[in-house]
Subunit: 335 residues, 2 copies
């Protein structure tokens, strides 16, 4: 079924108010879940809302908690999320990193004890809208084996880089896994194989068969041993800088909570006027865009280009939402 942006915002806002969020927070949550859905990331948008409510009902997400600063030195700060909603904490910490960047050229907030931030690109866009570059990452529960190992002991630790751009911000928003389990499940439902290896089967062989991978969740890091190492160092940075939980500690809980994140923002305008900035970015986009494509008719995209096109389309036409998910949400708001 097609849902308009306006309708989704309204339904979600009412749902969150019903669950005792302040009007301000309900508005923020409704907006972030809606925007992620419009951008085509339903897995961390509308489809995730029932799970989010479930976490609130279980007391894993504390609706009244907010991130607060626990240490500060120059351009860097450490915050504690007090197990509040990941979206609220992430928005606050991104704002603070932007402020620090505008004051010091670059700023960092390391956040511990927070919950899933949903779509990481949300905060990359937030920074870019404030004319800041951002480098953001989070740890997660274990869902991939370290290279050479049998069991999942490293997280897919989403990593975000954003760059402000007049003609549409550049946003890289990627998990360190080659495919998310959500995506692997999509292939399963379509009865298709993955185009490349996506995880390990029960014989400890790399596989592109969704059924075989999903029987035991052991995802494949991008670049095999390289992504494995990248996941480990991102976990170390987030854990060390926030003095928070590592993937090892997070694994002790059945449900993922109390995770650690890093928000770095840089304010390039202190060095470079906006005109030169835009010229330098367009030079890179033109060069990579103007390459002949391998499959005639295909196009090469810059990071974030497709999600912004998807958003524009959905804003105009409404966005297709899974009917049973939508019904569940309506039911929750009427409960």
């Amino acid at each position: 079924m097609l849902i308009t942006e306006n309708n989704m915002q309204k339904v979600l806002y009412n749902l969150f108010v019903k669950y005792k969020f302040t009007s301000e927070k309900a508005h923020l949550l409704a907006n972030v879940f809606t925007e992620s859905t419009l951008a085509g990331i339903s897995s961390h948008g509308i489809n995730r809302v029932p799970l989010f409510i479930g976490y609130i009902e279980k007391g894993i997400i504390r609706i009244d908690s907010e991130a607060e600063q626990v240490a500060s030195f120059g351009s860097i700060e450490r915050w504690d999320g007090n197990l509040g909603p990941g979206i609220v904490n992430a928005t606050k910490c991104t704002n603070r990193a932007i402020e620090l960047a505008k004051q010091h050229g670059m700023g960092m907030v390391a956040l511990r004890n927070t919950n899933h931030w949903m779509r990481g690109g949300t905060y990359g866009l937030q920074a870019a809208n404030a004319n800041c570059i951002s480098i953001l990452f989070t740890n997660t529960k274990p869902n991939m084996p370290p290279w050479g190992g049998k069991d999942s002991r490293i997280g897919n630790n989403p990593f975000v880089v954003s760059i402000p751009r007049k003609k549409g911000h550049v946003v890289l928003d990627m998990a360190i896994s080659q495919f998310s389990f959500g995506k692997i499940n999509d292939y399963r439902l379509k009865g298709e194989k993955l185009p490349y290896h996506g995880g390990w089967d029960n014989n400890n062989e790399l596989s592109n068969d969704p059924d075989k991978i999903l029987s035991k969740e052991r995802g494949l890091p991008i670049g095999y041993w390289k992504g494995s190492a990248l996941s480990i160092v991102l976990d170390m940075l987030a854990t060390l800088l926030s003095a928070g939980n590592s993937t090892a500690k997070i694994s002790a809980n059945d449900l993922e909570t109390g995770i650690s994140q890093v928000y770095i923002c840089i304010y390039p305008e202190v060095f470079t006027d906006e005109g030169l900035q835009q010229k330098l970015i367009e030079e890179i986009i033109d060069y990579t865009h103007n390459v002949e494509s391998i499959n005639p008719g295909d196009q090469v995209y810059y990071p974030g280009e497709r999600s912004s096109q998807t958003r524009a389309k959905h804003l105009k036409e409404g966005v297709a939402v899974n009917e049973s998910i939508w019904k569940k949400i309506i039911l929750l708001s009427e409960k």
Copy 2:
């Protein structure tokens, strides 16, 4: 042939002095090339020395030039490398980023117009030895197609993350390509296929055949579309922050020069005492190390573990050096 660390340092020092480097710079260069060789990275160590000398003879690397600051704001600075030797510039900029980190908690130097830094991990170790975390990256000439494109338009942009650790620093030092062309050539010489896809063949198909990949240098980014996007944003950050050359601009020269780099250092001790830091890192290493391995007898490594083991072995036993490379170097120093 086996060369001792001492002998390599001495021969290289004399070579660089002969090529008119100051005693201080000759010592630094000899040390970095030797250390990279000891760590097992001969491709950016001893094997690279003749090429480095060739660049000097062609005037591409200017031996008297040094990086100098061109802009500064709070915790971030922009430097110009003036086309000096990459190792000298990188060492200086890492030192400056360490100083900024100790002053502001975190610091950044963006460097333009520099030359190849050889082994990126060198500067990760330098930061870790000063008790700093580092995040470092460089752009390069184009050597991979952007995802979906035919021609190489993006760089393999090496990316380094280091974390200080009492029992051996953690150092991730990875190019964004799945395999370097040097490594692909090693497989070719051994008459072996790559274990995974490493680039594109002449039919625009992904291939693990070294001959087919090397006929037209089009490498594969880690994680396919993900590494492609990561390469693009790293190039944007380095270019934008230094106001330097992008991979697009670098491609205009036949030989790679005038590249752009970013040095970010963080000084975690302003928040966390050393004891807690080490405890948090060991927790992550223990968890990932203690995983059962897929192939009995194999071991899972933390990033940087193997190169430090290799270094210890080579320090004790000497390091095997290709005879024709060594002869070439001896000849250059006697010329």
